[in-house]
């Protein structure tokens, strides 16, 4: 959080002169604007034209029921709020029609808000998928549709892809998420922030730390407390270990898909070492139950010298395995050119994470709006320009090395500075704020409303949902057998997208 004092009278330059917008008080790195419902779309359009990235759209209930659009621009999160009054809050916007990135979030909001009388035909419904309902319209001669999922070969999470193919070429893919929707956002309501973090940890289990951190930071910002510096350092250590586990998982799966079994085993061994290191530090292989709103529960249970030795061992092993991986032609041949995403497409869909960074965008929440220990750690954002599966894997290799470097720095900080691990949360207070973190899949933003000390409303903008919309466009020149390579290179989790 940057400690700049905001001038509440400053009118953002990107707003057109005729637009009536009131600037509201906000925590650091947030810009909150209140507009009339009829002006919602023109404000959003002005923000888009200024070069902003779409983050999410949802209904907030603090201070009153409002339609909220969230955008990222120049190191700030811009919140545009249109109070609903007596009218239908969703009537104010058609953002999903003119901004590709907003299509799924806007459709999800509309379908959930208006469940009874949905005018969307069943085949096109996003949030209530039926595995048997196929869209039978295909484009071209000898083309048929393969419904792949939600029960899939291998051990994968449930999601369905309707793949149109004539056998080789893939003219069209339709991704159908939300088989796993289990109402996580509603589950927060009425819980204390301390219990709420257990729900946050179980939204997307492989990104436990990112979700716990974003949620805890949202609570801290809403209640105007800060986690102590030492707690922030531990959070960053756990976050980088989580990034390593996720990236190693992606690389091991790519090796498996090429039948490069020794390579697969090598990266699985490295991932298991990270999992075990986390288990020794926190008692949980996913680092659960360690992050709490206000700080962390306890010190990591591994001696810092030992932790450093483990990091150094990972570094040595990884360096060799990476060199081998990159020099194995049977591996790289399958990845180079596969699933190429143009930069303009990635920008239109406002993708985040390694996916965006593999297409030349330098978006990274740790860099754009530094939080916690990332204000002190010097982060290098790794980007590649090719936009193919190889570029996305190379981004991950780069970030593995970067995570190890950040871990060394973090350990060094932990060694030199002592201090408290938690700051108490004020009892019975209220507030509302965003919290964010760069999950291994990309930028995660969580909105939290607290009333009388209890969670009133929580909204999650997951990186997986935002990035998945791009999957339908990831097969420009690719064939069916490239499917697994491209899917793994996305590295997303349906649990996070579906919530």
């Amino acid at each position: 959080m940057t400690a700049t004092i905001q001038d509440p009278t400053r009118r953002p330059a990107f707003l057109p002169g005729h637009l009536d917008a009131v600037r509201e008080a906000a925590p650091p790195a947030e810009l909150r604007l209140r507009v009339g419902a009829p002006d919602f779309d023109s404000a959003a359009r002005a923000i888009k034209d200024a070069g902003a990235r779409f983050v999410t759209i949802f209904l907030a209930d603090t201070p009153e029921l409002s339609l909220v659009g969230v955008f990222a621009l120049h190191g700030e999160l811009i919140m545009v709020r249109a109070p609903a009054g007596d009218s239908d809050p969703l009537a104010a916007t058609a953002i999903g029609d003119w901004w590709p990135a907003a299509r799924w979030p806007a459709q999800e909001l509309r379908e959930r808000h208006d469940r009874a009388g949905s005018s969307v035909p069943a085949q096109r419904r996003l949030t209530a998928p039926d595995a048997d309902l196929l869209d039978r319209r295909v484009h071209g001669l000898d083309v048929f549709t393969i419904p792949y999922g939600p029960v899939r070969s291998g051990i994968f999470e449930a999601i369905q892809f309707q793949i149109e193919t004539g056998g080789e070429d893939v003219p069209q893919i339709q991704t159908r998420p939300f088989f796993k929707h289990r109402g996580r956002e509603a589950r927060f309501v009425g819980l204390s922030p301390t219990d709420g973090v257990y729900v946050a940890e179980r939204v997307a289990g492989i990104a436990t730390v990112a979700y716990a951190t974003a949620f805890a930071q949202a609570v801290e910002r809403a209640l105007d407390v800060a986690a102590p510096a030492r707690a922030q350092r531990w959070r960053a250590v756990y976050a980088e270990l989580e990034r390593m586990a996720c990236h190693l998982d992606v690389i091991a799966k790519e090796a498996e898909t090429t039948a490069l079994y020794v390579g697969q085993a090598r990266f699985q061994i490295l991932k298991e070492q990270v999992m075990r290191l986390r288990a020794r530090l926190t008692g949980s292989r996913f680092a659960r139950g360690i992050i709490v709103p206000g700080g962390v529960r306890r010190e990591g249970a591994v001696d810092l010298d030992e932790l450093l030795a483990a990091v150094e061992e990972l570094e040595r092993d990884l360096r060799r395995d990476r060199r081998l991986f990159r020099n194995t032609a049977s591996m790289t041949d399958r990845l180079i050119g596969a699933g190429r995403l143009d930069r303009t497409l990635v920008e239109d869909y406002c993708a985040v994470g390694p996916l965006a960074r593999g297409s030349g965008l330098s978006t990274d929440a740790r860099h754009e709006r530094p939080y916690g220990d990332y204000e002190r750690l010097g982060l290098r954002v790794i980007t590649h320009r090719d936009g193919d599966a190889m570029a996305r894997v190379n981004v991950r290799f780069g970030e593995l090395a970067e995570s190890l470097r950040l871990l060394r720095q973090g350990i060094d900080h932990l060694r030199r500075h002592d201090g408290a691990l938690t700051n108490p949360l004020p009892a019975g207070r209220g507030g509302a704020a965003f919290g964010w973190a760069e999950a291994p899949q990309g930028e995660l933003v969580i909105w939290v409303e607290i009333r009388d000390g209890l969670l009133h409303r929580v909204h999650i903008a997951s990186p997986s949902l935002r990035n998945w919309a791009l999957f339908d466009h990831a097969f420009p020149r690719d064939v069916l057998t490239d499917f697994a390579f491209i899917e793994h290179s996305f590295g997303l989790t349906p649990a996070g997208a579906d919530r």
Partner: protein, 261 residues
């Protein structure tokens, strides 16, 4: 390619000797929750748990339902004289009631469905496993995948992964069974040939865990299909899932659950 082989050989053997020998849990690993002192408990203790896994009966006896416990540690922090973590991996049980500790001696034992276990010996240790996700948080999938990594290498025990439910002997189910996954799950189970076994992997699959039961999710696999083995944990460790597979196929006798190791 030769270099890869050299690299593979360079690493010493990492595979666990489990189940031939016990695999001790990593120090501090939160494997399952245990009750240190069940007697004369106050009713408020039940309120410590976000998933209602803790119960206090009319005789002020305290019990924990491991099938509901998500291992968050709220109770251990608040009442360390009552609750503690058991640092071991094996948590699987063949009945839902056996997950409650301390065990209720009066409870009638649920009938065991041990058909697969009886016939597993005839299968000569060649058991095909299928997985289906009915709404997990994704972490259980990682731990099941880990069974095929060099550390656990479950193939050495004769467990193979199969893509076709028609070839499967064992079905691993994760998640609380969401509405959209209910029918695919039932259909997958139907087409599997007898004898077959179903394993609920993770607290969500055992009881719904933190997921609210109702319109969106069934609140556990046994609300939809008969479960042979429960593997609680959020998520359970790979050895715990291996333990569940061995229990389901009769390759391992029941462990004395509820008795601290």
């Amino acid at each position: 390619m030769l270099e890869w082989i050299a690299r593979g050989l360079h690493k010493r053997r990492v595979t666990t000797p489990y189940p031939r020998r016990e695999e001790p849990a990593l120090p501090g690993f939160r494997g399952s929750l245990t009750v240190l002192d069940p007697l004369n408990a106050r009713g408020e203790l039940a309120r410590l748990c976000p998933t209602a896994a803790i119960a206090v009966d009319a005789q002020h006896r305290l019990s924990v339902d491991r099938g509901r416990c998500i291992l968050c540690g709220s109770c251990v922090d608040a009442a360390p004289e009552r609750f503690a973590f058991d640092h071991r991996y094996e948590t699987a049980a063949r009945t839902r009631s056996a997950l409650t500790v301390p065990e209720d001696t009066d409870a009638a034992l649920e009938p065991l469905r041990a058909t697969l276990a009886e016939q597993a010996r005839a299968l000569r240790r060649s058991i095909h496993v299928r997985h289906i996700d009915s709404g997990s948080d994704g972490s259980e999938e990682w731990e099941i995948q880990a069974l095929w990594n060099p550390y656990y290498d479950i193939q050495r025990l004769g467990f193979f992964l199969t893509a076709a439910p028609r070839h499967a002997d064992v079905l691993l189910v994760t998640g609380p069974v969401t509405t959209a996954m209910r029918q695919p799950l039932q259909r997958t189970w139907q087409v599997m040939p007898e004898p077959k076994a179903l394993i609920a992997v993770g607290t969500d699959a055992c009881s719904g865990g933190l997921t609210t039961s109702g319109e969106l999710a069934a609140g556990g696999v046994d609300a939809v299909l008969p479960v042979d083995v429960y593997v609680p944990g959020s998520p359970p460790a790979p050895i715990a899932i291996m333990h569940g597979l061995l229990l389901a196929t009769g390759l391992l006798a029941d462990s004395p659950l509820g008795v601290p190791a």
